[in-house]
Protein backbone atom coordinates (compact mmCIF):
# COMPACT_ATOMS: atom_id res chain seq x y z
CA UNK A 1 0.00 0.00 0.00
CA UNK A 2 3.07 2.21 0.19
CA UNK A 3 2.54 3.48 -3.30
CA UNK A 4 -0.73 5.15 -2.25
CA UNK A 5 1.00 7.27 0.37
CA UNK A 6 1.58 10.29 -1.90
CA UNK A 7 -2.08 10.22 -2.83
CA UNK A 8 -3.11 10.35 0.79
CA UNK A 9 -0.68 13.17 1.39
CA UNK A 10 -2.17 15.07 -1.56
CA UNK A 11 -5.63 14.61 -0.17
CA UNK A 12 -4.67 15.88 3.23
CA UNK A 13 -2.90 18.85 1.75
CA UNK A 14 -5.86 19.75 -0.42
CA UNK A 15 -8.25 19.67 2.51
CA UNK A 16 -5.93 21.69 4.67
CA UNK A 17 -5.46 24.26 1.93
CA UNK A 18 -9.18 24.66 1.44
CA UNK A 19 -9.81 25.09 5.14
CA UNK A 20 -6.96 27.54 5.49
CA UNK A 21 -8.08 29.77 2.66
CA UNK A 22 -11.63 29.90 3.99
CA UNK A 23 -10.43 30.70 7.45
CA UNK A 24 -8.03 33.33 6.19
CA UNK A 25 -10.69 35.21 4.23
CA UNK A 26 -13.02 35.08 7.24
CA UNK A 27 -10.38 36.40 9.58
CA UNK A 28 -8.59 38.92 7.43
CA UNK A 29 -11.29 40.58 5.33
CA UNK A 30 -12.84 43.70 6.91
CA UNK A 31 -16.62 43.40 7.23
CA UNK A 32 -18.71 46.39 8.29
CA UNK A 33 -22.07 46.01 6.57
CA UNK A 34 -24.94 48.48 6.83
CA UNK A 35 -28.41 48.61 5.27
CA UNK A 36 -27.58 51.56 3.04
CA UNK A 37 -24.45 49.88 1.82
CA UNK A 38 -26.07 46.66 0.78
CA UNK A 39 -29.04 48.25 -0.99
CA UNK A 40 -28.50 49.00 -4.68
CA UNK A 41 -28.24 52.58 -5.90
CA UNK A 42 -31.09 53.44 -8.26
CA UNK A 43 -31.21 57.23 -8.47
CA UNK A 44 -32.74 57.53 -5.06
CA UNK A 45 -35.75 55.39 -5.88
CA UNK A 46 -36.47 52.48 -3.60
CA UNK A 47 -36.09 49.40 -5.79
CA UNK A 48 -39.36 47.58 -6.36
CA UNK A 49 -37.77 44.28 -7.23
CA UNK A 50 -34.63 42.35 -6.52
CA UNK A 51 -31.88 43.72 -8.69
CA UNK A 52 -29.97 41.24 -10.78
CA UNK A 53 -26.96 39.93 -9.00
CA UNK A 54 -23.58 41.13 -10.05
CA UNK A 55 -22.18 38.46 -12.23
CA UNK A 56 -18.43 38.30 -12.38
CA UNK A 57 -18.07 36.94 -15.90
CA UNK A 58 -14.36 37.51 -15.91
CA UNK A 59 -13.75 34.81 -13.36
CA UNK A 60 -15.62 32.30 -15.42
CA UNK A 61 -13.78 33.31 -18.52
CA UNK A 62 -10.40 32.91 -16.94
CA UNK A 63 -11.47 29.66 -15.36
CA UNK A 64 -12.58 28.35 -18.71
CA UNK A 65 -9.37 29.33 -20.38
CA UNK A 66 -7.47 27.78 -17.57
CA UNK A 67 -9.25 24.48 -17.94
CA UNK A 68 -8.37 24.27 -21.60
CA UNK A 69 -4.70 25.00 -21.09
CA UNK A 70 -4.59 22.87 -18.03
CA UNK A 71 -5.91 19.82 -19.77
CA UNK A 72 -3.31 20.11 -22.50
CA UNK A 73 -0.80 18.88 -20.01
CA UNK A 74 -2.42 15.48 -20.18
CA UNK A 75 -0.76 15.03 -23.57
CA UNK A 76 2.49 16.65 -22.56
CA UNK A 77 2.92 14.39 -19.58
CA UNK A 78 3.13 11.02 -21.34
CA UNK A 79 5.36 12.59 -23.93
CA UNK A 80 7.69 13.86 -21.26
CA UNK A 81 7.90 10.35 -19.83
CA UNK A 82 9.06 8.66 -23.02
CA UNK A 83 10.29 11.48 -25.22
CA UNK A 84 13.66 9.79 -25.66
CA UNK A 85 12.10 6.68 -27.08
CA UNK A 86 9.94 8.57 -29.50
CA UNK A 87 12.78 10.50 -31.08
CA UNK A 88 12.27 13.02 -33.81
CA UNK A 89 8.84 11.81 -34.65
CA UNK A 90 7.61 12.52 -31.17
CA UNK A 91 9.21 15.92 -31.22
CA UNK A 92 7.45 16.87 -34.41
CA UNK A 93 4.17 15.61 -33.06
CA UNK A 94 4.42 17.50 -29.84
CA UNK A 95 5.58 20.65 -31.59
CA UNK A 96 2.58 20.51 -33.89
CA UNK A 97 0.42 20.13 -30.87
CA UNK A 98 2.15 23.03 -29.17
CA UNK A 99 1.69 25.22 -32.21
CA UNK A 100 -2.00 24.54 -32.18
CA UNK A 101 -2.18 25.43 -28.51
CA UNK A 102 -0.06 28.50 -29.08
CA UNK A 103 -2.30 29.66 -31.90
CA UNK A 104 -5.29 29.62 -29.61
CA UNK A 105 -3.23 31.48 -27.05
CA UNK A 106 -2.45 34.18 -29.60
CA UNK A 107 -6.11 34.37 -30.40
CA UNK A 108 -7.00 34.89 -26.76
CA UNK A 109 -4.37 37.55 -26.23
CA UNK A 110 -5.37 39.35 -29.38
CA UNK A 111 -8.97 39.43 -28.28
CA UNK A 112 -8.05 40.74 -24.87
CA UNK A 113 -9.35 37.72 -23.03
CA UNK A 114 -6.53 37.95 -20.54
CA UNK A 115 -6.62 41.70 -20.00
CA UNK A 116 -7.50 42.05 -16.39
CA UNK A 117 -9.57 44.92 -15.10
CA UNK A 118 -12.94 46.44 -15.76
CA UNK A 119 -12.05 49.22 -18.19
CA UNK A 120 -11.75 47.40 -21.48
CA UNK A 121 -14.48 45.64 -23.29
CA UNK A 122 -14.00 42.14 -24.46
CA UNK A 123 -12.91 42.22 -28.03
CA UNK A 124 -11.56 45.15 -29.92
CA UNK A 125 -14.68 46.72 -31.26
CA UNK A 126 -13.92 50.06 -32.80
CA UNK A 127 -15.37 52.82 -30.68
CA UNK A 128 -16.92 54.66 -33.60
CA UNK A 129 -18.50 51.44 -34.85
CA UNK A 130 -18.60 50.60 -38.50
CA UNK A 131 -18.42 52.96 -41.41
CA UNK A 132 -21.72 51.72 -42.68
CA UNK A 133 -23.46 52.61 -39.49
CA UNK A 134 -24.81 56.13 -39.72
CA UNK A 135 -27.48 58.04 -37.86
CA UNK A 136 -30.09 57.08 -40.40
CA UNK A 137 -29.26 53.41 -40.30
CA UNK A 138 -29.46 53.39 -36.55
CA UNK A 139 -32.73 55.22 -36.51
CA UNK A 140 -34.24 52.91 -39.02
CA UNK A 141 -33.02 49.94 -37.12
CA UNK A 142 -34.46 51.12 -33.87
CA UNK A 143 -37.66 52.23 -35.47
CA UNK A 144 -38.66 49.26 -37.50
CA UNK A 145 -36.46 46.49 -38.52
CA UNK A 146 -34.50 45.38 -35.55
CA UNK A 147 -37.47 45.29 -33.29
CA UNK A 148 -38.17 41.74 -32.22
CA UNK A 149 -41.61 40.48 -33.09
CA UNK A 150 -43.14 40.88 -29.68
CA UNK A 151 -40.65 38.73 -27.91
CA UNK A 152 -38.90 39.35 -24.70
CA UNK A 153 -35.68 39.41 -26.64
CA UNK A 154 -34.10 42.80 -26.44
CA UNK A 155 -31.10 43.70 -28.48
CA UNK A 156 -28.33 44.78 -26.20
Amino acid sequence: MGQYLPVVAMLVLAVVFAILSFAASKLLAPRRPSAAKSSPYECGIVPSQEPPERFPVRFYLVAMIFIVFDIEIIFMYPYAVIYRDLGAFGLVEVLTFAIAVFASFVYLIANGALDWGPAKRLGRRDPQMSATRTTTSTVRRVGLEGRPAGDEEVAA
Binding site: P52, F55, V57, Y60, M64, I71, E72, I74, D151, A156
Partner: protein, 105 residues
Protein backbone atom coordinates in the same frame (compact mmCIF):
# COMPACT_ATOMS: atom_id res chain seq x y z
CA UNK B 1 -4.32 -3.98 -8.39
CA UNK B 2 -4.75 -6.60 -5.77
CA UNK B 3 -8.41 -5.88 -5.48
CA UNK B 4 -8.88 -6.03 -9.19
CA UNK B 5 -7.33 -9.44 -9.47
CA UNK B 6 -9.42 -10.89 -6.69
CA UNK B 7 -12.73 -9.33 -7.55
CA UNK B 8 -12.68 -9.68 -11.30
CA UNK B 9 -14.00 -7.01 -13.63
CA UNK B 10 -17.69 -7.29 -12.89
CA UNK B 11 -17.94 -4.94 -9.86
CA UNK B 12 -16.09 -2.25 -11.77
CA UNK B 13 -18.34 -2.59 -14.74
CA UNK B 14 -21.37 -2.47 -12.50
CA UNK B 15 -20.01 0.58 -10.75
CA UNK B 16 -19.41 2.22 -14.12
CA UNK B 17 -22.96 1.44 -15.19
CA UNK B 18 -24.35 2.76 -11.92
CA UNK B 19 -22.36 5.98 -12.19
CA UNK B 20 -23.47 6.36 -15.76
CA UNK B 21 -27.09 5.94 -14.72
CA UNK B 22 -26.68 8.36 -11.85
CA UNK B 23 -25.34 10.90 -14.30
CA UNK B 24 -28.14 10.30 -16.77
CA UNK B 25 -30.85 10.52 -14.12
CA UNK B 26 -29.21 13.58 -12.63
CA UNK B 27 -29.34 15.32 -15.96
CA UNK B 28 -33.01 14.47 -16.21
CA UNK B 29 -34.01 15.75 -12.79
CA UNK B 30 -31.77 18.75 -12.16
CA UNK B 31 -32.48 22.19 -13.53
CA UNK B 32 -29.30 24.01 -12.74
CA UNK B 33 -27.32 24.07 -15.98
CA UNK B 34 -24.05 23.72 -14.17
CA UNK B 35 -25.21 20.62 -12.37
CA UNK B 36 -26.45 19.26 -15.68
CA UNK B 37 -22.98 19.71 -17.10
CA UNK B 38 -21.55 17.96 -14.11
CA UNK B 39 -23.87 15.07 -14.76
CA UNK B 40 -22.59 14.80 -18.31
CA UNK B 41 -19.07 14.76 -16.93
CA UNK B 42 -20.08 12.02 -14.55
CA UNK B 43 -21.40 9.97 -17.45
CA UNK B 44 -18.18 10.43 -19.36
CA UNK B 45 -16.11 9.46 -16.39
CA UNK B 46 -18.23 6.42 -15.73
CA UNK B 47 -17.41 5.44 -19.27
CA UNK B 48 -13.75 6.01 -18.53
CA UNK B 49 -13.99 3.58 -15.67
CA UNK B 50 -15.55 1.06 -17.99
CA UNK B 51 -12.78 1.56 -20.52
CA UNK B 52 -10.09 1.06 -17.96
CA UNK B 53 -11.75 -2.05 -16.64
CA UNK B 54 -12.02 -3.56 -20.06
CA UNK B 55 -8.43 -2.59 -20.79
CA UNK B 56 -7.34 -4.49 -17.70
CA UNK B 57 -9.49 -7.43 -18.58
CA UNK B 58 -8.24 -7.57 -22.13
CA UNK B 59 -4.70 -6.64 -21.13
CA UNK B 60 -4.68 -3.98 -23.80
CA UNK B 61 -3.19 -0.57 -23.27
CA UNK B 62 -5.45 0.94 -25.92
CA UNK B 63 -8.34 1.23 -23.55
CA UNK B 64 -6.27 3.29 -21.16
CA UNK B 65 -5.11 5.65 -23.85
CA UNK B 66 -8.70 6.26 -24.77
CA UNK B 67 -9.22 7.70 -21.31
CA UNK B 68 -6.78 10.48 -22.11
CA UNK B 69 -8.75 11.51 -25.11
CA UNK B 70 -12.01 11.32 -23.27
CA UNK B 71 -10.67 13.52 -20.52
CA UNK B 72 -9.64 16.16 -23.00
CA UNK B 73 -12.95 15.98 -24.74
CA UNK B 74 -14.71 16.29 -21.40
CA UNK B 75 -12.68 19.37 -20.55
CA UNK B 76 -13.43 20.92 -23.90
CA UNK B 77 -17.10 20.19 -23.39
CA UNK B 78 -17.04 21.86 -20.01
CA UNK B 79 -15.45 24.96 -21.43
CA UNK B 80 -17.91 25.22 -24.25
CA UNK B 81 -20.79 24.55 -21.92
CA UNK B 82 -19.62 27.19 -19.48
CA UNK B 83 -19.23 29.64 -22.31
CA UNK B 84 -22.77 29.03 -23.42
CA UNK B 85 -24.13 29.28 -19.91
CA UNK B 86 -22.25 32.51 -19.25
CA UNK B 87 -23.61 33.93 -22.46
CA UNK B 88 -27.13 33.13 -21.37
CA UNK B 89 -26.75 34.23 -17.77
CA UNK B 90 -25.48 37.62 -18.87
CA UNK B 91 -28.84 38.15 -20.55
CA UNK B 92 -30.97 36.42 -17.98
CA UNK B 93 -29.40 36.18 -14.56
CA UNK B 94 -30.42 33.19 -12.55
CA UNK B 95 -31.96 31.31 -15.46
CA UNK B 96 -32.44 27.61 -14.95
CA UNK B 97 -32.70 25.10 -17.74
CA UNK B 98 -36.47 25.19 -17.44
CA UNK B 99 -36.57 28.92 -18.03
CA UNK B 100 -35.21 28.39 -21.50
CA UNK B 101 -38.27 27.52 -23.46
CA UNK B 102 -38.94 30.28 -25.88
CA UNK B 103 -39.12 27.62 -28.51
CA UNK B 104 -41.36 24.63 -28.36
CA UNK B 105 -43.97 22.70 -30.37
Amino acid sequence: MMLASTLGPTPYLVLGAVLFTVGAVGLLVRRNPLVMFMCIELMLNATNLTFVTFARQLDDVGGQVIVFFVLVVAAAEVVIGLGIIVGILRRRPGATADDLRLMKG
